[in-house]
């Protein structure tokens, strides 16, 4: 059947992220909502396709972190084949996952977040972007570009020039590692490490500079969810799920990620297209949890590389008695710790002889009618869940993405900032910048933020208890 194309994807490009703030009878903030007009229907679209096509399709459509979708999708395929992939294939996939982290975290910190920090939240918005950054901190910005390029180089060496070619497949990967490229990649390491250390030094000065602002940046207790390795270390490719509460207590451990639907629910709200996942045992919305760098560094017992582990200890010391860092501002710190880990771990993996084996793909027939693939994407835990028939044709697809899992917490962050900056009947100066910076801690992957350079297009509305519009601002 030929499908008629009726609308162009461009309608997604001009959108604004809408935020509404609702006051109670006393005129104080009772609620703030971050409305997301997102892309829906993708899972339905996949039904009827072959499971083998999914790594290619998902990495194409979700092209912001293609390598993570590639890995999660291939892992769902491994499950359906009931296969244990060769050691070399697993090592290569691990390397790919870290390369994606490096690339994504470098962009998030150096080009998206640092203009806020280095130029100031209240600086001229015309300059508070990458132009201003390059004008005043040229070397810093350049170093960020180089660091991201390192991640990109690793991806290209592994998967070829075109990331969208499904390099990872059910059962393993398609191409062995070209050993002649090893030295080329290793040559990047010293510079990459130095750049991350410089970024950490810079961020610590920022922590001092914004001492007054930081406590109002999404600072609340919530659960934290992510993968940990068998013995509790920071994990990015496999392992089991751990749930920690805001007091640093492990409330659930060694949960099988394949059974995620048993403990993670997905709630819908009429005012947002993005679902609101929650931790089932606590119900909705009490089961609010955060994923991504802050969660991962919070929940792990250790990090296996020395420099990142030393930073993790500093991070934990800052969390104080609670033993969990509850302030969303420290997503940035956690992101840099992970960036340091990625560089160190990539170096370790490149020295691992098993990376260069020739057994890279195991083959099998369809042996199960259901499979869950999971990994830690830069923004948090990613799940691909497929149901297939005996020929591998998809009957149903469910994808649980990181940005959705942070949805409740992002709303909570916006509410906290609103409480602090809503001034009676009007929106205080500097509010928009801080809301944006608050959302940016989570580095969300949303269509509305995709095409506007540097600044997220925001539409902020303030309503009284009767629903009458008191004030609004758009940019």
């Amino acid at each position: 059947m030929v499908k008629t194309i009726t609308i162009e994807p461009v309608t997604r490009i001009e959108g604004h992220a809408k935020i509404t703030i609702h006051l109670d009878e006393q005129g104080t903030v009772s609620d703030a909502r971050f409305h997301v007009n997102e892309f829906r229907g993708f899972e339905k679209f996949c039904e009827g396709r072959l499971m083998w096509e999914m790594p290619g399709i998902t990495s194409r459509i979700c092209g912001i972190c293609p390598a993570s979708h590639l890995i999660a999708s291939a892992k769902a395929g491994d499950e359906i084949l009931s296969i244990r992939i060769p050691e070399t294939a697993e090592k290569l996939r691990r390397l790919m996952t870290l390369a994606q982290w490096t690339q994504s975290h470098a962009l998030s910190f150096f080009h998206l977040s640092s203009p806020d920090f280095l130029l100031g939240f209240d600086s001229d918005p015309v300059k508070r972007n990458v132009f201003g950054l390059i004008g005043e901190h040229k070397e810093f910005a350049r170093r960020g570009i180089r660091l991201r390029k390192f991640g990109q180089e690793v991806i290209e060496v592994l998967g070829g020039r075109k990331i969208h070619t499904p390099w990872a497949v059910a059962g393993g990967v398609r191409e062995a590692f070209d050993a002649t490229k090893k030295e080329h990649l290793l040559a990047w390491i010293p510079e990459a490490r130095e750049t991350v250390l410089l970024a950490l030094e810079t961020l610590k000065k920022i922590h001092e500079r914004y001492k007054a602002d930081i406590p109002n940046f999404g600072n609340f207790r919530s659960l934290f969810v992510g993968l940990v390795s068998e013995d509790g270390g920071l994990e990015y490719y496999d392992g089991t799920l751990r749930v920690m509460d805001g007091g640093g207590n492990i409330v659930a451990d060694k949960l099988d990620p394949r059974l995620y639907q048993h403990f993670l629910g997905e709630q819908s709200e009429p005012w947002s297209y993005l679902k609101f996942p929650y931790y089932r045992p606590l119900g909705y919305p009490k089961g609010m949890y955060r994923v991504g760098p802050l969660a991962r560094v919070n929940i792990c017992d250790y990090i296996e590389t020395p420099l990142a582990e030393a930073e993790r200890k500093c991070f934990k010391a800052m969390a104080g008695d609670a033993d969990a860092m509850n302030n969303s501002f420290y997503y940035h710190y956690a992101r840099l710790i992970e960036l340091l880990f990625s560089v160190e771990k990539i170096e370790q993996l490149l020295h691992d002889p098993s990376l260069f084996g020739s057994h890279i793909r195991a083959k099998a027939m369809i042996n199960r009618d259901e499979g869950v693939g999971f990994c830690e994407a830069p923004r948090g835990t990613l799940f691909h869940h497929y149901w297939v028939n005996e020929n591998g044709v998809l009957q149903k697809v469910n994808m649980l993405i990181a940005t959705a899992q942070n949805n409740l917490a992002m709303n909570r962050t916006v509410r906290q900032i609103a409480m602090h900056y809503v001034d009676g009947q009007s929106i205080a100066e500097g509010m928009l910048n801080r809301v944006e910076a608050g959302i940016r801690c989570f580095d969300p992957c949303l269509s509305c933020s995709t095409h506007a350079l540097g600044q997220m297009p925001l539409h902020l509305q303030l309503f009284d208890v009767k629903g009458i519009l008191l004030d609004e601002c758009v940019r």
Partner: protein
């Protein structure tokens, strides 16, 4: 779900820092920072995140991605229409 829509690079301004270009997404033109993809040339396609080109692709790859996105959008449009029909609103 985030959506990586490839845009076609119409022009590049090599006199500025950072490197900027005009990119067309099905007719909507945007200024995009090309610092992360410095070897991109006019006529090639880029995937953009928060105003930064994060990867480039050739016409064939971009065409395949756009085809997929249109297909999903087309399906959604069909669904919206039928749900309106069912509700009895005409």
């Amino acid at each position: 779900m985030c959506l990586a829509i490839p845009g076609k690079v119409l022009s590049i301004d090599r006199s500025t820092e950072p490197l900027m270009g005009k990119v067309s997404f099905g007719g909507i033109k945007k200024q995009v920072c090309l610092d992360w993809t410095p070897d991109v040339v006019e006529g090639e396609y880029v995937v953009v995140h928060v105003g930064f080109a994060i990867s480039k692709m050739d016409e064939e790859e971009a065409g395949e991605t756009l085809r997929l996105i249109r297909e999903v959008e087309g399906m959604m449009e069909g669904e919206l229409k039928s749900s309106t029909d069912n509700s009895g609103i005409s």
